[in-house]
Symmetry: C2
Subunit: 210 residues, 2 copies
């Protein structure tokens, strides 16, 4: 029992350290350059350590993606809870997709390389789909009762596309800042809504675009 407790503790510590190191390497070198050796070196450990705590490199990677998604989602959920109007909830969702000081070129690139890998590795594709479903259900919670199913779908598609497209742009040219990206998405959404749902959504004009 005592041994059990200690073993578990160290094991968890190392796993977290390795995942954190993997995350740093990931952001710096992309999915491609995230090698086992580099992860271990970044964590200040020897090359073989990774195989001791993880079944393989993929396990580290999935752990990392899961970890980050959870952080992101917790943030969005917290913001959603604090929001009082429908528009504020929209803002929360959008801002949650551009996490504070995480809308940077390296991160955009890293995320992009995961998307690219998802096309080959079904495991990644599953994570990707989960991500989209969550965004869509968040949006559904805002538009609940305002839109019919097809209009909800269209709106979700367009909003998701806007967000993803701006991330992609960030990765490519890095000429859009976080605040500008959020403003663009929100004003895009406003345009969509003003074009037919004037009465459905409480007018966002009384809010600030921040």
């Amino acid at each position: 029992m005592a041994t059990q407790r200690k073993r578990t503790k160290i094991e968890d510590i190392r796993r977290v350290e390795l995942i954190a190191a993997a995350h740093r390497v990931f952001l710096e070198h992309g999915l491609q350059g995230m090698t086992s050796a580099r992860i271990c070196r970044e964590a200040g450990m020897s090359p073989g350590i990774l195989a001791y705590y993880f079944k393989g490199k993929d396990e580290v990677l999935f752990g990392m993606v899961r970890y980050n998604n959870r952080l992101l989602m917790e943030d969005v959920i917290a913001r959603l809870r604090a929001a009082r109007t429908a528009w504020a909830r929209l803002e929360a969702i959008v801002e949650g997709n551009f996490p504070d000081s995480a809308f940077t070129r390296p991160i955009a690139n890293a995320w992009l390389s995961v998307c690219a890998e998802a096309g080959v590795n079904p495991q990644y594709a599953r994570l990707q789909r989960l991500f989209y479903q969550r965004l869509r259900s968040n949006l559904a919670s805002v538009f609940d009762g305002m839109f019919d199913a097809t209009r909800l779908r269209d709106a979700s598609l367009v909003i998701a596309a806007l967000i993803d497209g701006l991330w992609l742009r960030k990765a490519a040219t890095d000429d859009v800042g976080r605040d500008e990206a959020i403003t663009l998405v929100l004003s895009g959404i406003r345009s969509l809504l003003n074009n037919g749902e004037e009465q459905l959504l409480r007018r966002p004009a009384d809010d600030r675009e921040t």
Copy 2:
């Protein structure tokens, strides 16, 4: 002279064949899985042939990307030339970004992997930037005299983001068809324009969304 002509001919043939084979491999296995050996096997030649006609693998790759970009752009330019109204020109640009029967998951994925690589390889990044500049100058030609610089920039950003986002979505979940994607982008643009530029752009209501 005769030798010159013949040599050049064979050389060009092989280069084209290899680029075509590279393209097929690229679509099937992604940028990652596009190895020299596979390209040669796909072309029905021996592994060493690639080094004979190209300086390295990258040269094949850049040739491939350039070739495809040129095809795409020629298509857009032809459509633009045929368009008579501003809205028709917009349609041409948007449709040109969803080439006929090329809006498929494998292609979306392949394109995505190039974007991801562009974050590491500056050569790719250059191609990427050229691509964006062309889209932007095309859009500028439509909005010429209607928008000021900042508004043009915003519109270009949003439209490009919409297009890219839908491609990314295609790669991830493959739940959007080509026609639907075009419709979504065009109606998104319409919303944007209706929200302040009613008089500037000839009303698109008299056009069909096709």
